[in-house]
């Protein structure tokens, strides 16, 4: 009798599960986002809003912002648009006086397009200045831009006012493994006269030595702080391997409207997340 009951109830449970997930899909962002317009806004349309934002609008402005992007493969055909929109989000962050920005996608696509990103960001920053001038707004000085783990912009000698770190999966766990091996080699090769720190002479390396090496490996030795805020753009709330060592106290913000087609994020939504910190 109970087996007949189970035979009867089994399909009902499956149906109920399917209905539950279907209702969730209707309620959630996938359907809302599908109806969002895909557009490439000009910085001119956003410049007035950006000009109205001040430090007083934020309870606590993060010094270091991490941007984590998922779902790249689906957008491969639109790669240029993706990179331009990443550059646009970085420009918004800089206009809000955030000076250190880490950008991560697990496949490292943004990192491999570093020189294009550099070009898009510098172009956008110049457009910001031009737009500010055209609209008679206070002109924000162009930042001295540094891509922390790349060397193609190292002619400037001074304090960089906008530091960008491009990261991929190899910088996360694999980066820590690489540091483990590298420190072992340094310990083996330590001699008092070869310029290595005395710390390597002590086989029991201290925590500071480990941490310094991990930071240097990913280009964060230039930066004073770990990410205070992480914004996850994609359709799943996960860091997907972003620098596990560095997110100890990072606030992780994941919102429906950031996913999955992040190219459709608008400035007010971005501002809203930063203001909530």
């Amino acid at each position: 009798m109970s087996s007949y009951l189970e035979l009867f109830l089994g399909p009902i449970k499956v149906l109920a599960w399917l209905i539950l997930h279907f209702i969730w899909k209707i309620k959630k962002f996938e359907f809302q986002t599908l109806f969002r317009k895909s557009w490439e806004p000009s910085i001119y349309t956003e410049i007035k809003t950006l000009a109205q934002i001040s430090k007083e609008d934020f309870r606590k402005l993060p010094q270091h912002l991490a941007l984590v992007f998922h779902n790249f493969e689906e957008e491969q055909l639109l790669k240029a648009i993706i990179l331009k929109n990443v550059a646009r989000i970085i420009t918004w962050a800089w206009m809000m006086d955030i000076h250190i920005i880490s950008v991560y996608d697990e496949k490292g696509i943004i990192k491999t397009n570093a020189s294009r990103m550099h070009k898009f960001i510098t172009t956008l920053l110049e457009e910001v200045q031009a737009a500010q001038s055209a609209k008679n707004l206070k002109i924000k000085d162009l930042p001295s831009l540094k891509f922390c783990n790349f060397t193609f912009n190292n002619k400037f000698e001074g304090n960089y006012t906008l530091k960008i770190v491009l990261l991929g999966e190899d910088d996360g766990k694999q980066g820590i493994v690489s540091v483990t091996k590298d420190l072992f080699q340094k310990g083996l090769n330590y001699r008092p006269t070869n310029g290595l720190s005395e710390a390597f002479n002590n086989k029991a390396l201290d925590f500071v030595t480990w941490e310094t090496a991990i930071n240097k490996n990913v280009g964060l030795d230039w930066c004073d702080t770990e990410p205070e805020l992480m914004m996850v753009f994609g359709n799943v709330n996960s860091t997907l391997g972003f620098l596990p060592w560095h997110i100890r106290l990072t606030e992780i913000q994941y919102e429906n409207f950031l996913a999955p087609y992040f190219v459709r994020v608008n400035l007010r939504e971005f501002f809203g997340i930063i203001a909530k910190v």
Partner: protein
């Protein structure tokens, strides 16, 4: 109060919803950051340690619910190394509570063996007071062969401390020739964290509205669904747990669609695998020996 509640006190509606959810994937390993005990105590005009006591009661409920749902491994963040910086009164209250609860765990040996629960304490044991360490060692040693479910208690734990200790073990292995440099990969480093092997973390839950990992399972949560909920831990209900499972089912599907590559996909040779396996077994045996020695001291210390 028992570590794992004896009775199943779910309503028929909750059981029905559970039966429906079980048609999909159930997470096998869930991590909990049990946040909100102190805020709960303040809200209820209780002493802080009473808030922690209520938190423990809720843990007991949650472990029973997890067993009933089919979640076979749970990791809970009980005490951070950073918590040693709190007031002396609170720290000593927490140590006293921990000692009481671990003693209770030992008193429930029969129940734990019947339920088949294996207990593992993860953290920096060198920071734990000796009397508590002995109780923890006995609990681990007593349940080491249980296989039905696993409870990892993170005590005197931070993830950075865990990663650093793993890196130091790897260094020691490289120095004494147990492993070669090419043997060192993400999987080897992760296995050096644990005395008992652990399943991949499926979902990490934090209560009380904070959206931080606070140095908990930073390494393990790299490809994990994160679930932040506003409820304070002592007010966590079965419905909250069901919504966690539901979120896991949604997000796991999306995670799988991302076609994440495994961390070390390169072909490993048999000799390398044997060296890695021997190295891990060696360090685990050394750690078990210390635990067995501590566990055997329990009669002399009581």
């Amino acid at each position: 109060m028992s570590w794992i509640k004896d009775q199943d006190d779910r309503s028929w509606v909750q059981k029905l919803c559970t039966a429906v959810l079980k048609q999909g994937l159930i997470p096998q390993h869930v991590g909990f950051i049990l946040d909100g005990n102190r805020r709960y105590a303040r809200g209820q005009n209780l002493q802080t340690v009473e808030g922690h006591r209520k938190g423990f009661e809720k843990l007991s409920d949650t472990l029973r619910w997890c067993l009933d749902l089919g979640i076979t491994e749970v990791t809970v963040f009980v005490f951070s190394i950073e918590n040693f910086k709190r007031s002396e009164e609170e720290v000593s209250g927490l140590m006293k509570l921990a000692k009481e609860k671990f003693q209770k765990l030992l008193d429930e040996e029969e129940n734990l063996m019947n339920e088949g629960v294996c207990v593992q304490i993860v953290g920096d044991w060198s920071l734990v007071p000796e009397d508590l360490r002995i109780l923890m060692a006995k609990a681990m040693y007593m349940t080491r062969n249980n296989t039905r479910a696993k409870l990892n208690v993170a005590f005197a734990y931070t993830s950075r401390n865990e990663i650093t200790r793993g890196m130091k073990l790897i260094h020691q292995g490289l120095l004494d020739g147990s492993i070669l440099e090419d043997d060192v990969d993400c999987k080897l480093l992760e296995e050096s964290f644990y005395i008992l092997p652990s399943k991949p973390l499926d979902i990490l839950v934090r209560t009380s509205g904070e959206k931080r990992l606070s140095d908990f399972l930073l390494w393990q949560s790299a490809e994990t669904v994160l679930c932040f909920t506003n409820v304070l831990w002592p007010e966590f209900t079965y419905w909250h747990l069901l919504s966690v499972v539901f979120q896991f089912q949604i997000d796991k599907r999306n995670l799988m669609h991302l076609n994440l590559k495994a961390n070390d996909l390169q072909v490993t040779d048999l000799a390398m695998e044997q060296r890695q396996h021997k190295f891990i077994e060696k360090i685990r045996q050394q750690q078990w020996k210390i635990i067995a020695d501590d566990a055997s001291r329990i009669n002399s210390s009581l």
